[in-house]
Each structure stands twice: as structure tokens, then as C-alpha cells.
């Protein structure tokens, strides 16, 4: 992977401008000091309970999310482009969702094939003709970016259902400010601490018009409960926003109005930031065996008496096969070219593309279209002949269920590994909020493949994360001496 873009070094031992001050700081610290600093940071995470739950353990083991202390730095001008690109992309995706659940113009005109949409597991017929507040389907989004070998950012995945990780972004920043206060101040980094407030404002601006107090709607966060792996994040965000953290059994629906059970009686709920998947939201409408949901919730939603964020049925737009059409959507709805390109993607329903993929499986990454979290993947260059054989059979059996992308050289950034600085592959995920306005907190969660050479950054697969610094004033860290 020597073709990968190096975030820090322009050439061997020549750091890029905006990384120079960081290099100087790191060089000034002994391996022992580095190790001690990392240990202190790990301890902070443990004590503050910044953890994720490991499934399948009786005592409910919690593990800290591995954190790397070396920040990933993005110059201001590069960020400006990302911001424009993501705003454009999410605007188009929202128009697309509105379209396919109403007139379906884009399908009628053949820009996106009809069968692709209707065969998607996450397409919800129930949403047809239903109007959502402000026509915003996806108000909370976390997009995975990669930097290609030529230095250009591209979109790897749109996470349009219930993206997670934003609490780690905030936690990483808090810890880094404590560890490198002087360097942080001198660099001139945009703050990100206002994310919870922006999230609350976004949610509130989507309140139904018939809410009892439209200017002060009752907003709650719906969690699947304490055994969910992201439970820490749910409690953290609810606390930071000052809203109730509810489970399905706290809510009930009567006459198409949603209430929560409080000790002072039933209180009407207007906006639900749900961290429960579509399938489990309402046993009367979706999966009947769900005990995480609220019976009747969908009817209340359809009646316009409660807002769900994100809306139901957004998963159709982050289907990995539909993803391939996003640049066309941008052209179709906005009459613009995509600012951030896609990663080249082969649709396995197309005979020619399928054949090409099958012929080159050892240099491809094959992904199941509806999965996330790094599950159901074949990483060609690191696969065995048997795994390739298995995927070949699966692709031939269900071509609609898979897509293929050339194995990408994710860019690399310096990381602190056992007291020494080494290069690891990274993949940033900025968080975008969209309602009455678009908010991107400058930064995001930079995920790191902590195993040497690994390309998988998902936390469930041994990945970690690091803080992301977006620099002010065109950003060369110019204030750093």
C-alpha cells in the first residue's frame, strides 16, 4: 500500500506545512513520555465510562473505545470543500428520498432503475405519499470519507439511518485538549463542543405543527436499552441535550398521539430522536416480534402527530448499490456536478461489471449492500482462495445483494503505537445536521485501523479513533512558531 496518501509527510522526513508543529512536539517527547500520556488518556476514558458494550458477555463487559492521541489535521481550505460537498450530497439525497416516496420522477425517467429501489430491503412502501416535516428525511448523517492516493477526498459510505460515534468525537476532543493544551491553542482549531446544542436545535425545528407548544416541543431520545452497544452514546447525548432518554416501554400511543409515562401522568411527545432501527420501531407495522418499539407509533407518525429523526425508510438511500447513483442524483436534482466523487463501484446485477469483478476478486472489496459495521465483507487482497470461492458463489446466487469496489489505499496518518509513532490507515466521518439549516461541526470522528496494514476501521473489528482538527484561517497552523 505504498501508493496511499500520507497525511503527514510530503516526502520521506518532509512534513506537510500543517503537520510541522505537531511533528516538532512529538519528536520532543521521549517514548516513555508518549506511553505515559497515552495511559493517562486511556484512564480518563475508563473513569468517565466512555465505553462500548461487548456483546455476548454475562456481566455486561464494557470496553473503552481505543483512542489514539495524535490528532488528524485537516487544513481549512480542504475542509471548506468537504463542507460544500457534503451539503450538496445530503441535499440531493433528501430530494431523492422525497421523490421516490412520492412522484418517483427519477425512476420514471430511468435515471435510477426502478427494480433497484423496489428490491431494496430498506425501501418502506408504508412511507409512500407520507409528508415529513420540512421534507427532511435525513436530518442526522455521518458520512464516511476516504482520501484517495491523488489527495482527493471521496465518499465511501453514506450512513443515513442511525449513525453513531459522535460521542467519541466529543470525548476525543476533551481528552486531547487536556493532553496537548498549548499545541491545541497555538494551532487555531475550530471548536466542536456545540454539537449537542445544534442537534437539539435541529430536532426541535422538525416538531410537528400541531405540537402543544410548537416553540418548545417535547423531545426524547429513544434507545433500544442498556444492552445496546452504543448505550453510552445514548445516555451521553440525552444528558448533554437535557432531554429524556426513553425506552419503547416508556411510550404509548393513544388516538394517534404519542405519550410517555411519567410519575405526573402522561406527557405528550413531539419529536423522537430514535436510535432504534426501522424494523423494530412498531410491532404493529414492522417486525412483529419487536419488544423495543411502540405499538401504534407508525400511525401517529403517519398522522403527522410526531416526528421521527431520521425518518423511516431512509436506508434505501444508503444501500450500497443505490450509492453508486448518487452523483447522477446530484446532477438530476441540483443540476450540478458532485463536488465529492464516489469511490468506483461495480454493480453486480450488470453482467459486464459482474464478470469483471469475478475475474478480479483478489484486488476487490466486496460488500453486502444492506450491511454496515464492517460485517459481510470480502477484502480481496487479504482473502484466502476459499473465502473468494465462497463469495463467488454468493454473488452468483444473489447479485443484487452485493457490490464491489477496487481495494483502496486509504490514506495513512501517524499514530501512537506502544510508545512509537507509526503510520496507520485512517477514514474520517464528519457529522452533518440538516433541518431549517445545515450544520457541520468542523471535524468528525477519524477512525483508525490500529492493526498494521489493516484497512478495516470499524470499532467492532478492532478499530480505534482519534481527534480531528480543522484549522481556522485557511489553515496552515500559521500561529505556531
Amino acid at each position: 500500500m505504498d501508493t496511499a496518501y500520507d497525511e503527514m509527510f510530503l516526502a520521506p522526513a518532509v512534513a506537510r506545512d500543517h503537520y510541522r508543529a505537531l511533528e516538532k512536539t512529538l519528536v520532543g517527547l521521549s517514548p516513555d513520555e508518549l506511553r505515559r500520556t497515552q495511559q493517562a488518556a486511556d484512564l480518563t476514558f475508563l473513569h468517565e465510562g466512555i465505553t462500548f458494550t461487548v456483546y455476548g458477555s454475562k456481566e455486561g463487559t464494557e470496553r473503552i473505545f481505543p483512542n489514539d492521541l495524535v490528532p488528524r489535521i485537516i487544513p481549512g481550505d480542504e475542509w471548506a470543500r468537504i463542507e460544500k460537498g457534503l451539503t450538496q450530497r445530503l441535499t440531493a439525497l433528501n430530494l431523492f428520498l422525497r421523490d421516490i416516496y412520492h412522484e418517483s420522477r427519477i425512476l420514471a425517467e430511468g435515471v435510477v432503475p426502478r427494480e433497484l429501489i423496489y428490491s431494496c430491503r430498506h425501501f418502506r412502501r408504508e412511507m409512500r405519499g407520507l409528508n415529513v416535516p420540512r421534507d427532511i428525511y435525513v436530518s442526522i448523517c455521518g458520512t464516511d470519507l476516504v482520501r484517495l492516493p491523488d489527495g482527493q477526498f471521496a465518499v465511501l459510505e453514506d450512513n443515513l439511518r442511525v449513525p453513531s460515534g459522535v460521542s467519541y468525537m466529543l470525548a476525543n476532543r476533551k481528552v486531547l485538549k487536556r493532553v496537548f493544551p498549548t499545541m491545541f491553542r497555538d494551532y487555531g482549531v475550530w471548536p466542536i463542543d456545540h454539537y449537542p446544542q445544534a442537534l437539539l436545535a435541529t430536532l426541535r425545528s422538525l416538531a410537528p405543527l400541531n405540537a402543544a407548544y410548537p416553540n418548545d416541543p417535547t423531545t426524547v431520545l429513544l434507545t433500544p436499552g442498556v444492552s445496546n452497544s452504543a448505550y453510552f452514546e445514548h445516555t451521553f447525548l440525552a444528558q448533554q441535550m437535557g432531554i429524556e432518554l426513553v425506552e419503547g416501554r416508556d411510550l404509548l400511543v393513544h388516538d394517534n398521539l404519542v405519550y410517555m409515562r411519567t410519575t405526573a401522568g402522561l406527557r405528550r411527545v413531539d419529536v423522537i430522536y430514535r436510535r432504534v432501527d426501522d424494523d423494530f420501531l412498531d410491532p404493529l407495522c414492522f417486525r412483529r416480534d419487536s419488544i423495543l418499539g411502540v405499538p401504534g407509533l407508525f400511525n401517529a407518525y403517519r398522522a403527522g402527530n410526531v416526528t421521527l429523526a431520521n425518518a423511516i425508510g431512509t436506508g434505501v438511500a444508503d444501500d450500497k448499490a443505490v450509492y453508486a447513483y448518487v452523483p447522477e442524483m446530484i446532477r438530476y436534482y441540483l443540476n450540478e456536478d458532485a463536488i465529492l466523487p464516489n469511490v468506483p463501484t461495480f454493480l453486480l446485477t450488470e453482467p459486464a461489471e459482474r464478470q469483471h469483478t469475478l475475474d478480479h476478486l483478489d484486488s476487490m472489496v466486496v460488500k453486502a449492500v444492506g450491511e454496515s459495521g464492517g460485517y459481510g465483507m470480502l477484502i480481496g487482497p487479504q482473502s484466502t482462495a476459499q473465502q473468494r470461492q465462497e463469495f463467488r458463489a454468493r454473488i452468483l446466487a444473489e447479485p443484487r445483494n452485493y457490490i464491489a469496489q477496487p481495494a483502496l489505499a486509504l490514506s495513512t496518518a501517524p499514530c501512537l503505537i506502544d510508545g512509537a509513532v507509526e503510520s496507520r490507515h485512517v477514514d474520517p466521518r464528519p457529522y452533518i445536521l440538516m433541518a431549517d439549516k445545515v450544520t457541520l461541526v468542523p471535524g468528525g470522528l477519524t477512525r483508525v485501523a490500529l492493526r498494521r496494514g489493516s484497512l478495516v476501521v470499524n470499532s467492532s473489528q478492532g478499530g480505534g479513533s482519534k481527534d480531528t482538527w480543522v484549522l481556522r484561517d485557511g489553515g496552515r497552523g500559521s500561529r505556531v512558531a
Binding site: 465510562g49 407548544y213 436499552g225 440525552a238 410517555m260 409515562r261 410519575t263 405526573a264 401522568g265 406527557r267
Partner: protein, 335 residues
């Protein structure tokens, strides 16, 4: 500019009421922890007495313990070691110390964001401490330390709760749980005790019964307080009055009911449900205890009196559930 008409009502409504599930978890957490502490104290006292007694008397004391702790389903001959293990370690017995601490922790774990992190850490520590213990050979003779640590752990948790948690509605539900449990377990203990003793007289007890009366006082953490009030001369009538009607002793029925009542009133105010049943029953019980005199109680039969206290505690518990946790949605929507 004047605030809009419903401004204050609105502000209040927002603050009124917490999630029923959260309130219920805090209430139960507190009940379980109180029960663990009570069981630990009684066992601690009994095991000390056991050392002083002849084997025949000892066997009777175990039956007493089973009744006083209201453990059902234990019949026939009681093997003290097996019994103590059942009361301490058993996971099948939901009232064992380990079960109670585990249940308290589980209740708090689900509402962790509602309590302070110090509270969670302390209860988790206590839990890890008790599940680590195993009934090894001869553990019972060294068990004092375990019972001590459960009581201390519970006291520490209470102190931490008072010092680090906001004294709002959630805190009041914790108080409520503790004092409902305490009133009930105290009444059961006294009932079992008086049931086996002669009619309490205003006479010093003879040396044969002395130990069991001291045991009762110690089981209510009240021996030293009794000596301060009445000297070490044990008179059954005074003990009865002290444990039932004393307003200042933390482990008297009167004190517990007073606190229960105060918590219910505050919760009633916070949720605008003061007129509801649990407050009414608790108020009535409190009035009864404030105005009763020990001679009257004895004349009417102490057992009957204690049983009526227990039945009212049970009614209060049911009413709390009906009004705050598990209310009928239909009735709510109509009102």
C-alpha cells in the same frame, strides 16, 4: 412585557414528573438495598447470640429468624449452616443478601444516567464484594466481617447519595423505597418477636430472656440508643414503645413512617398528585402512630396493631405502583 398567560403553568409542567420506569427502578433499588442491610444486621446479631446459647435454644432462634425475615418455603428441621447459606448466598432465594444486592445493582444499572457516577461506583463495588464471597468451610464463624461490610456498604451508598445526587424527585423515590421497606421489615420483626414473648410488662426481664431482648434491640440498631434513653435495664414495655413509637430512632416504625410520609408529600407536590391514595394512607398511618400510646396498643393486642401497620404498608406500596408507576392509561386519558 408580561409573560404569556400559561407561562408559569408551562414551566412547571415541564419540570413535573419523571419517567415512571426510572422512578420505579430507583424505588426498587432502594428497597432491595434496605432489605440486604436488614438481613445482614439480623444475621450478624443472631450469629453472635448463637455463640452464647445452648443448642436447643439455638434451633428455636433459627426458626425465629426465618419468620422474622418472612422467608417462605423453608420447612422442617433447620440446619443452621445450610440456612445461613440460603440467607446469604442463595440466588434461588430472592431475599438472600447476594440476591438483594444484585437486584439493587441491576435496578440502578438501567438508570445509571439518572444517578451520580459516585453512587454507581459504590453500589457496583459492594456488588463485586459480595459475589466474590463463597460459602467455604467454617465461613460462618468469620462471617461477621461480611455482614459488617454489607451494612457499611449500604450506609456509604446512602451517604454518597445524599451528598452527590440532586435532592429532587428521584432522590425522594429512593427515600420512599427505603422507608417503605424498613417500616414493613421492622413490623414483621417485632411481630415475630412479640408473638413468642410473654405479654410485655413494665418489669425488668429475667436473665433467661435478657439475650433475646438485647438481640431485638441490636437487630434494630437501637441497643445503644435504648441504654441512653432508659439505661441498660431492659423492660419489655419500654422496648416495645421505643421501637414502635419513638420519633427519633432511625429504626423505629414511627420514624420510618414519618419519613415515608414526607417523601410521599414532596413527590405529591412535585407531580401535582398530592390528593392521591398513597399520601392519604400514609398520612392516616402516621397519625395513628403519632397519637397511639403503648398501653392502648398492649390493651388491644400488639400483634393486631403490628399487623395493621404491615397491611397499611402493603396498601401504600400498591398505591404507589398504581399512581406513579403502573397507572391505567385509560383513567389517565379521561382525567
Amino acid at each position: 412585557m408580561r409573560p404569556p398567560r400559561n407561562f408559569y403553568a408551562r414551566t412547571f409542567q415541564r419540570d413535573a414528573g419523571m419517567l415512571s420506569r426510572v422512578a420505579s427502578n430507583l424505588y426498587w433499588m432502594s428497597r432491595y438495598l434496605e432489605r440486604a442491610e436488614h438481613t445482614a444486621r439480623l444475621l450478624d446479631v443472631e450469629l453472635q447470640l448463637w455463640l452464647d446459647q445452648s443448642p436447643e435454644v439455638g434451633a428455636g432462634r433459627w426458626r425465629f429468624l426465618v419468620d422474622a425475615l418472612q422467608i417462605r418455603g423453608i420447612q422442617g428441621r433447620l440446619d443452621p449452616l445450610e440456612l445461613a447459606e440460603a440467607l446469604v448466598f442463595s440466588r434461588e432465594n430472592f431475599s438472600s443478601i447476594v440476591s438483594c444486592v444484585a437486584a439493587a445493582r441491576e435496578n440502578l444499572r438501567h438508570v445509571r444516567e439518572q444517578c451520580s457516577s459516585e453512587m454507581w461506583e459504590q453500589l457496583n463495588k459492594l456488588y463485586l464484594q459480595v459475589i466474590e464471597r463463597r460459602p467455604e468451610k467454617g465461613w460462618i464463624l468469620k462471617s461477621h466481617e461480611l455482614f459488617r461490610s454489607v451494612q457499611e456498604g449500604a450506609h456509604l451508598f446512602q451517604g454518597i447519595t445524599d451528598a452527590t445526587m440532586s435532592h429532587g424527585e428521584g432522590w425522594q423515590f429512593i427515600q420512599l423505597g427505603r422507608y417503605v421497606e424498613r417500616s414493613d421489615t421492622l413490623a414483621a420483626l417485632l411481630d415475630t418477636h412479640f408473638d413468642r414473648a410473654a405479654q410485655p410488662a413494665d418489669q425488668p426481664v429475667d436473665s433467661g430472656e435478657y439475650l433475646s431482648w438485647v438481640g431485638l434491640l441490636r437487630g434494630c440498631a437501637a441497643f445503644e440508643a435504648y441504654c441512653q434513653a432508659h439505661t441498660a435495664e431492659i423492660r419489655p414495655l419500654r422496648v416495645a414503645e421505643f421501637l414502635i413509637l419513638n420519633p427519633d430512632l432511625p429504626h423505629s416504625i414511627r420514624f420510618s413512617v414519618d419519613r415515608m410520609n414526607a417523601a410521599l408529600h414532596l413527590i405529591g407536590d412535585l407531580t401535582e398528585r398530592r390528593e392521591k391514595t398513597p399520601s392519604r394512607i400514609a398520612g392516616r398511618l402516621r397519625a395513628k402512630l403519632s397519637f397511639s400510646q403503648i398501653e392502648e396498643i398492649m390493651a388491644g393486642g400488639v400483634a393486631a396493631y403490628l399487623r395493621s401497620v404491615r397491611s397499611e404498608c402493603a396498601q401504600i406500596h400498591d398505591a404507589i405502583h398504581q399512581i406513579y408507576f403502573d397507572y391505567s392509561v385509560e383513567a389517565e386519558l379521561v382525567s
